[in-house]
């Protein structure tokens, strides 16, 4: 088992190192093949490991990183069903995205950097997935952050892209602070940083501590998983190449936060407050994301807000105490969101980097049937139409929210199901505008021809399409004749235990309700945004325009950040940077930093360059030391 897991992690790392070291020396062909091979081999290893572990928990120590007194950091991995499943998903989706990237980046000069980052990204994600030691995990966590920074700002020559990368980096860093604090607290309390140990001894925590941990971890996860209020970086992070968006937003990076919560579930599951907080954060984010997605005009931004929204569902699942459902949704979401992004990438590629959905139309359906059908499958899954994968996974979340004790959760359930309707609405709005009807910009129509994407890009859509529809079979509820395989598989995971038998009436009722709501959403979308739709236009006049702007600007969250957080910081940096503005805003901080510099200048004068001064200090020091000794010895 140990060599398999080691290889599982090492293959992407080696691929990345190869690109970094020899990428410039060898041909493009080799770089591409090595990068893909690294991930695909890793996927094969994940399959073998998944197969041979048989759902058992295994802790394997690779080596001791360092050991200082009683504090040791072990490079060990915890291969339990959760990790096995996650590793499988990550490597599978990443493999497809790598293959897709070969086509997508065909004409880009920075391919070496690109594939290097991409491989390292997968490696870091696998570290998060498998690590048992929190410091080890944190390294992966930071690695993911760093790689995403590089990839989002991949076309760094454009200032906007570089600043998007920086924004992602900074906002996720805010989350990392909380994670760092949490790690410190864990060590203080448990004297160990092993997840296994911590989970096993979580019962020594008082409810207060549990709440604290829950909030800290929520804060950390919110940064990584773009939950409110740290969500603003994700839509901007679309600046990177589209496969990167697929990788970051669909399968890997953003799920790291949720995964962390699932991994450390026992630490806070005893605290109702923490759980409620997580559920509320998830629900609000889900609703917020769905609303914001409703009015976006950029195909990738729609999908980005949809990701935020779907991640909210996963948080809700964790908050409702059903991490099986959360994981289930994570996996199905990975499939259909990767599919949607990759299909969007095909569309963008076909229209020569055009991202405005109002410039698309039925010509795409005619020209790209290979993209149209997978996209439809993905849209159906996202809208949770029965019997797609999304339907089952979302349904399970709704059921567990509904059945969770407390009237409060009923309310959350209500918002969640409302969001489900919104989800169907915005998904099919996107679908109808992109693939049906006419483009709104007739005049440019003639200039642009649709370019067919290379076959390896299209080919990767199909397996994802199939999975988007059929992945629901993994955890088919008993009512549908399934055995709930995933629930069985996750039975041993702490916190994944069944909540008793689900009443058939609830199960069936919920299924029907969500199906109806989904279909209702689609019908609305057809009337509003279909080829002859009422609202098929980029902006709205009159009183509705304000609402429209509110939604399009995602409740002005970005603006709020700029106005009340980023702006003062920028100002401060500005003041510190060019001293001209010294009469500026935050005098206190400025003079604080200035004091350091002043001290520094004074101390610099001390080193006067004159030997007599140095010799004087030598004897002065001797005298002072002797005086100190005399005082200590009390002969003075």
């Amino acid at each position: 088992m140990k060599p398999i897991l080691l290889l599982l992690m090492l293959f992407p790392l080696l691929g990345g190192l190869f690109s970094a070291l020899f990428g410039r020396r060898v041909s493009r062909w080799t770089v591409e093949r090595v990068a893909c091979a690294g991930v695909i081999l890793s996927f094969i290893m994940a399959l073998i490991a998944f197969d041979s572990s048989g759902g058992k928990h295994q802790i394997i120590t690779f080596f001791t990183w360092f050991q200082v007194a009683d504090f040791s950091v072990l490079m060990d991995v915890r291969f339990d069903p959760l990790a096995a499943f996650m590793a499988l998903t990550v490597t599978f989706v990443s493999s497809l995205i790598h293959i897709y990237s070969v086509g997508y980046m065909k004409h880009d000069e920075g391919y070496v950097r690109y594939f290097c980052y991409l491989n390292l990204f997968v490696f870091s994600m696998l570290v998060i997935t498998l690590a048992d030691n929190l410091v080890f995990l944190f390294l992966g966590w930071e690695g993911v952050g760093f790689c995403s920074y590089g990839l989002i700002g991949f076309w760094y020559k454009d200032m906007k892209n570089a600043s998007a990368g920086r924004k992602a980096f900074l906002l996720t860093r805010i989350g990392d602070v909380a994670f760092g604090i949490a790690i410190g607290l864990f060590f203080l309390i448990f004297n160990s940083l092993s997840i296994t140990y911590i989970n096993g001894h979580a019962d020594i925590l008082t409810p207060g501590t549990m709440t604290l941990f829950g909030l800290l971890l929520l804060w950390a996860a919110a940064g990584k998983s773009a939950q409110l209020p740290l969500s603003v970086w994700l839509p901007d992070a679309m600046a990177g190449p589209t496969p990167v968006s697929a990788l970051i937003h669909a399968a890997t990076m953003v799920t790291a936060g949720v995964y962390l919560l699932m991994r450390l579930f026992p630490v806070f599951s005893g605290s109702a407050t923490a759980m409620a907080f997580i559920a509320v954060a998830g629900t609000l984010t889900a609703f917020y994301g769905a609303c914001a997605a409703l009015m976006q005009g950029d195909i990738k931004r729609v999908l980005a807000y949809s990701t935020i929204s779907q991640l909210g569902y996963m948080f809700l699942a964790v908050g409702a105490g059903n991490i099986t459902a959360g994981m289930f949704h994570l996996v199905t979401h990975a499939f259909f969101k990767a599919l949607l992004f990759l299909a969007a990438g095909c569309v963008i590629h076909a229209l020569h980097e055009e991202q405005n959905i109002f410039r698309m139309g039925k010509k795409l359906r005619l020209a790209l049937p290979g993209v149209y059908w997978p996209f439809l499958a993905g849209a159906a899954a996202l809208s949770a139409l029965p019997p797609t994968a999304g339907f089952f996974s979302k349904d399970e979340i709704l059921i567990s929210t509904f059945l969770h004790a407390g009237i409060f959760y009923k309310f959350l359930w209500f918002i969640a199901i409302l969001t489900a309707a919104l989800t169907a609405l915005y998904t099919f709005r996107l679908f109808f505008i992109v693939f049906t009807g006419e483009s709104l910009y007739y005049e440019e129509e003639s200039e642009k021809s649709v370019e067919k994407p290379p076959p390896n890009m299209i080919a990767t859509l199909w397996p994802l399409g199939v999975l988007a529809i059929f992945a629901g079979l993994l955890n088919l509820p008993a009512g549908w004749g399934g055995g709930g395989w995933l629930s069985e598989y996750f039975l041993n995971i702490p916190g994944a235990a069944h909540h008793g038998e689900i009443p058939h009436s609830v199960e069936n009722g919920m299924a029907i309700a969500s199906a109806v709501i989904g279909i209702f959403g689609i019908i609305c979308a057809w009337f509003l945004y279909g080829p002859k739709g009422l609202l098929r236009r980029p902006d709205l006049p009159g009183a509705w325009g304000g609402l429209f702007d509110l939604l399009r600007e995602a409740f002005y969250l970005d603006w709020l950040y700029r106005r009340y957080i980023a702006w003062p910081f920028e100002k401060m940096a500005d003041i510190l940077w060019n001293r001209v503005d010294r009469e500026g805003i935050d005098r206190g901080l400025y003079s604080f930093a200035n004091t350091f510099m002043l001290f520094s200048q004074i101390l610099r004068e001390w080193t006067s360059g004159r030997l007599s001064g140095y010799l004087f200090m030598l004897f002065m020091g001797l005298t002072v030391i002797l005086c100190l000794l005399a005082i200590n010895f009390s002969i003075l």
Partner: protein
């Protein structure tokens, strides 16, 4: 008796190698620089191998030098330092035309001095080792005769160093006068080693040591000398001579009897705190890289002293000190080595490339030396995944574990401040250069070999520090 000789076999290799080099230089027409260089490398390497491979035991020569694994470990470290210094200085010395038997021979003699100082169990050997080291360094610093700055640095170090040696010597005399013991540990544990006279001597000895490892307020010479000295020599000075003194100090600190320790601990505490604060603060405004490195090395010594305070307990402190010494040696050598590599192409070949503005975009011009400098600085700043991170972690862990909370907090604040000036240099290194860079390559093998080995060591110790820590645990047990 035979084991006596095994103990000093590394010393014999170093001394013999030095003498051989001078003989070759004296009797061979047209002094063959390559042969001299190889001889120096081989002697240092052989001494290192000998120190690691053969275990002598006991303290031969009437208890004057120690053959324990502690001193053998340090001897190997010093040999490693001198090998790397030799590699970095090869081209540098040729280019500035001071290579020759004096340079290589004196490096070996200085290494011998370090080995003696670190392994001494007798005050006479300690003093003679320190003096051998110092006198070799006086000449090595001033060895670049066409450089005005080296000249000034040499005279400054000489005057300060000889005054400090005199203080150290007088301290030793007073210690002997009060206890009648010449053995280091014996004198520290003598029955009447709590009388005032003894403390007077100890105060002077601490001052002497404080000068050699440049603790505040005895640090003033450090930036001047480092700036003036040729870069490889500055690296040698800042690593070898300091670590030798730290090793000797470690013996003193762990050997002192509890009542003595009670009195001197506050003094060491004060020195450590002052050194951390002043070193880091003064480094903030430096705009010459060698001065910046000098202040940084001052601050690093403060951290080491902090852990030295904690080294009387369960061994965590001592282990941290030794571990950090090793890391510090390589990262500081790496930084100065990178400076010496990029100074090779300086047109006038008189001074080093020193001003921070001259480093703008250097990472593109000299990719390898730039990377070495960046990694060394990151390690000095204590950022993962470099060895400096683990080392600093161990130091702070030791200090906190021994309940030196206040100084640990000062140290951590200092370390945070220090990140600013290290990163500043790295930012300058990778700034877009003002002109289009022409990537340079280094002629010969020695520079790149040294570069690669330091790079590997820093990263390796950051990723796999376990084996070294185990070795240190064995040494201390």
């Amino acid at each position: 008796m035979q084991s006596d000789w095994i103990v000093i076999l590394p010393h014999l290799f170093l001394a013999g190698g030095g003498l051989l080099i001078f003989c070759i230089g004296a009797f061979w027409k047209n002094r063959p620089d390559g042969t001299l260089f190889i001889t120096a490398l081989l002697s240092a390497g052989a001494a290192a191998v000998e120190a690691l491979a053969f275990s002598g035991s006991g303290t031969p020569f009437a208890g004057m030098v120690s053959g324990d694994s502690f001193s053998r470990f340090f001897i190997a470290l010093f040999c490693g330092i001198s090998v790397i210094t030799l590699l970095f200085s090869r081209r540098y010395a040729l280019h500035r035309r001071f290579s020759g038997d004096e340079f290589y021979g004196l490096i070996l003699f200085a290494t011998l001095g370090m080995a003696l100082a670190a392994g001494a169990t007798h005050w006479a050997i300690l003093f003679l080792g320190v003096e051998l080291l110092s006198i070799s360094l006086y000449i090595l610093i001033a060895i670049h005769k066409s450089s005005q700055a080296a000249n000034e640095a040499g005279i400054k170090y000489f005057i300060m160093g000889s005054a400090a040696s005199a203080i150290l010597l007088f301290g030793i005399a007073i210690l002997y006068a009060s206890t009648g013991e010449m053995g280091i540990v014996e004198s520290l544990n003598a029955p009447d080693s709590r009388n005032p006279l003894f403390l007077l001597g100890l105060g002077m000895v601490i001052t002497g040591f404080g000068f050699k490892i440049s603790l505040v307020p005895f640090h003033l010479w450090t930036p001047d000398v480092y700036q003036g000295a040729p870069a490889p020599v500055a690296g040698f000075l800042s690593t070898g001579s300091k670590i030798a003194m730290v090793a000797a100090l470690l013996r003193i600190v762990t050997g002192a009897s509890p009542p003595v320790w009670e009195v001197i601990a506050p003094v060491i505490w004060t020195l450590a705190a002052l050194t951390i604060i002043v070193g880091n603060l003064t480094a903030l405004v430096q705009d010459h890289i060698k001065r910046l490195l000098a202040y940084s090395s001052i601050a690093q010594m403060g951290y080491l002293l902090m852990a030295l305070l904690a080294s009387r307990g369960d061994g965590a402190g001592a282990s941290a000190v030794i571990f950090y010494s090793v890391i510090y040696a390589f990262m500081d050598l790496g930084a100065f080595g990178a400076v010496s590599l990029v100074s090779l192409g300086e047109p006038m070949a008189r001074a080093d490339r020193d001003s921070l503005t001259a480093y703008r975009g250097l990472g593109y011009e000299y990719p390898f030396a730039g990377a070495l400098l960046a990694v060394s600085l990151l390690s000095l700043a204590g950022l993962p995944p470099t060895g400096g991170f683990i080392g600093k972690f161990a130091l702070f862990q030791a200090a906190i574990g021994a309940d030196y909370m206040a100084i640990a907090v000062i140290g951590i604040i200092g370390a945070i401040i220090s990140i600013y000036y290290y990163i500043k240099v790295i930012a300058v290194l990778y700034m877009r250069p003002t002109r289009v860079p022409t990537p340079h390559t280094f002629p010969g093998f020695s520079g790149p070999v040294a570069c690669a080995s330091i790079f590997a060591l820093i990263v390796l110790m950051g990723i796999l520090p376990g084996s070294l820590l185990e070795v240190i645990a064995v040494i201390l047990s």
